[in-house]
């Protein structure tokens, strides 16, 4: 159980990015967090996992609790040790390492059974096994994304924060990732999923939050969000009814429906 209360985050002492965010990620659930580019999703994840100060950011107000322990003062290694793992946005593999070394670093906090952990990842992503001795930086974009995901899994976190795991993946792999998330969730891992691919996220999440300009503007069960017209319009693009992209009208300007 991860709870966030009234969180405020400021970058460089001046840029207020999160303005009082509250949310709950209940034990054993998948929670989706949606929001336009720049809404502050990544910032929220950084605040949860203690990676803000590297970016000159700081929590100025509010509280983060992991199973009743306030963790907002902790540094990242301590939080990871407490069982919270994160897949960073944008395939942050260690480029100069081989695929296998990346996975081994991922298991830094894992107690024992590193080889098995890595083997499990290879089962999930057979490409990685083929490329195990290759330099990670030369993998294709999608392969790197798989590696980033796999690396987080080796650590066997209790709570997993995923920042856009489907970015740049082919449809087949997206489906696969989706299955993997469900699978690890079934094994007892709580998941907080940040996604632009809202269809995918909401179809597996129990609950969803929508973030806009550093605030939570919607907080509903995932199924309801999936049916919400605005959400469909904004995140899912043209639903089944929409016309081809070719017919998009030029006068259609970007609008925000809230705030």
């Amino acid at each position: 159980m991860l709870t966030v209360k009234n969180l405020e985050v400021v970058y460089n002492d001046v840029i207020l990015v999160l303005r009082g965010v509250s949310m709950t990620v209940p034990e054993g659930q998948i929670v989706a967090l949606l929001g336009a580019n720049g809404a502050g999703k990544t910032t929220l994840l950084r605040a949860l996992s203690g990676l803000l100060d590297i970016h000159d950011g700081a929590i100025t107000k509010g509280e983060v609790r992991l199973r009743d322990t306030p963790i907002q003062g902790f540094d990242a290694p301590k939080i990871v040790a407490a069982g919270l793992g994160q897949v960073l946005e944008g395939r942050r593999v260690f480029s100069e390492f081989t695929v296998e070394e990346n996975l081994r670093v991922g298991g830094h906090t894992r107690r024992g059974g590193l080889a098995e952990g890595i083997e499990e990842v290879y089962e999930l992503f057979p490409v990685l096994k083929e490329r195990r001795k290759n330099t990670a930086g030369y993998l294709s974009g999608g392969e790197q994304q798989m590696l980033a995901m796999g690396r987080a899994l080796v650590a066997q976190p209790e709570i997993l924060l995923l920042d856009e795991p489907s970015l740049g993946l082919a449809p087949r792999i997206v489906a696969q990732i989706k299955d993997i998330i469900v699978q690890i969730n079934e094994r007892g891992t709580t998941v907080l999923l940040v996604e632009q691919n809202a269809t995918m996220a909401l179809s597996i999440a129990q609950h969803g939050y929508v973030m806009e300009h550093g605030k939570i503007v919607m907080d509903r069960p995932a199924a309801e969000l999936l049916d919400d017209e605005d959400i469909r319009d904004f995140y899912l693009g043209r639903g089944d009814l929409a016309t081809s992209y070719r017919d998009i009208k030029h006068y259609k300007r970007r609008k925000r429906w809230l705030s």
Partner: protein, 378 residues
């Protein structure tokens, strides 16, 4: 290469954007001028006026320190071009400064002295020193095309050692270690800037100060021109992402070599003038330490800013005085006042970088933005 990629230019600009007070421009020309706001223009004018008043308020020895600081500022601008703007970290600046110093000394040196000297006038030896150093830079540039980051840094450091060897051995030109030679004759428009006799009412310190000031103003403008033109932009592209730069049509080899050549030109003229003012110098002057000092000027002043280079150079020039000043207020017990001074020199450089990693320029922008935003804080 990410080595010197600094945080995107700072709090300052960010808050301008966020707080949004778009400065109204009516033409692109206006946007492109050097001092593109009224405040900046007034600031520059005030600064120039102040610089012309300073010499009448300070003692000669301090003026000479400032003059030398201004001359080395040109070298710092040069280093900033290659290292700050183009991202090619060079620890070889001392070598190019040395090449300039000896070119100047040979061309402008006393023809009757013990060392080689042709006694040419300053308007020849000064630019020639730049040109010869730039040619040396052209030769070294291609190394930069192959190497990256610290490898490049250490290789350019190797240049300093090789240069040191050459300077030691070329005794007809350099006098050799422990002996040294005289710099070029400091005479321009019939004024001898090295003479101890007052020159039309100015002391030597004042005269040299003005000489250095004019020199600095000219080269600062040249530096700024490079930085704001397509060349400067291409440097930035090469620094931040060289593959992307190539793919949008920037010839990496050409610009890396150009950065080295331009930087060396600045180093060359600095070397020639600096050691002409100093008088006597020996090969040991162009050591690793000198390179490091210039790198410190750039880092302390602020990477990829011209005004930062100037501030950094003045700071490094004044640093011995500052540490001297502080050291004399600390009672000497365990350490002598000189050891204290030397330690303070180290500590001040460290302290500066630790507490203000964006450099003097960063402090300056912060102050400026504070007043811009006044009386609103976020």
């Amino acid at each position: 290469m990410t080595m010197l990629r600094t945080a995107p230019s700072t709090r300052g600009r960010k808050s301008t954007g966020v707080r949004g007070r778009p400065l109204l421009r009516t033409s692109y020309e206006q946007d492109l001028t050097l001092a593109n706001t009224g405040a900046k223009r007034r600031g520059v004018v005030a600064l120039v006026i102040a610089s012309f008043v300073v010499p009448f308020l300070l003692a000669d020895d301090l003026l000479q320190v400032l003059a030398l600081g201004m001359i080395s500022a040109v070298g710092a601008i040069g280093l900033n071009l290659v290292t700050g703007y183009a991202g090619q970290v060079s620890l070889g600046h001392a070598f190019f400064i040395g090449v300039g110093a000896y070119t100047g000394a040979v061309l402008g040196g006393d023809p009757d002295g013990a060392m080689l000297g042709y006694g040419l006038p300053m308007w020849i030896w000064l630019p020639a020193a730049g040109v010869v150093a730039a040619v040396a830079g052209l030769i070294v540039g291609p190394l930069a095309v192959r190497l990256r980051g610290l490898y490049l840094a250490i290789v350019t450091l190797g240049l300093v050692f090789l240069g040191d060897h050459i300077f030691r051995e070329a005794r007809d030109i350099t006098g050799g270690p422990g002996v040294g030679r005289r710099g070029a004759e400091l005479e321009l428009f019939g004024i001898d800037f090295a003479s101890i006799e007052p020159i039309s009412g100015l002391t030597r310190g004042q005269a040299q100060f003005f000489l250095a000031l004019v020199f600095l103003i000219i080269f600062a403008i040249l530096g700024r021109n490079i930085a704001r033109s397509g060349v400067g932009r291409a440097f930035g592209a090469v620094r931040d992402r060289d593959v992307a730069a190539a793919v949008i049509g920037v010839d990496l080899t050409k610009y890396k070599v150009m950065a080295f050549a331009m930087s060396s030109f600045f180093a060359g003229v600095t070397g020639a003038l600096y050691y002409a003012v100093i008088g006597v110098f020996e090969p040991g002057a162009f050591s690793l330490l000198l390179s490091i000092q210039y790198l410190a000027m750039v880092l302390i002043g602020g990477v990829a800013t011209i005004s930062g280079s100037i501030m950094g150079a003045l700071f490094i020039a004044l640093l011995p005085r500052i540490s001297q000043f502080i050291a004399h207020y600390v009672p000497d017990g365990l350490l002598t006042v000189f050891q204290l001074e030397a330690i303070l020199y180290g500590l001040l450089i460290m302290g500066f970088l630790i507490f203000e990693p964006r450099g003097l320029f960063g402090i300056w922008t912060r102050i400026r933005n504070y007043w811009k935003g006044w009386p609103f804080s976020y």
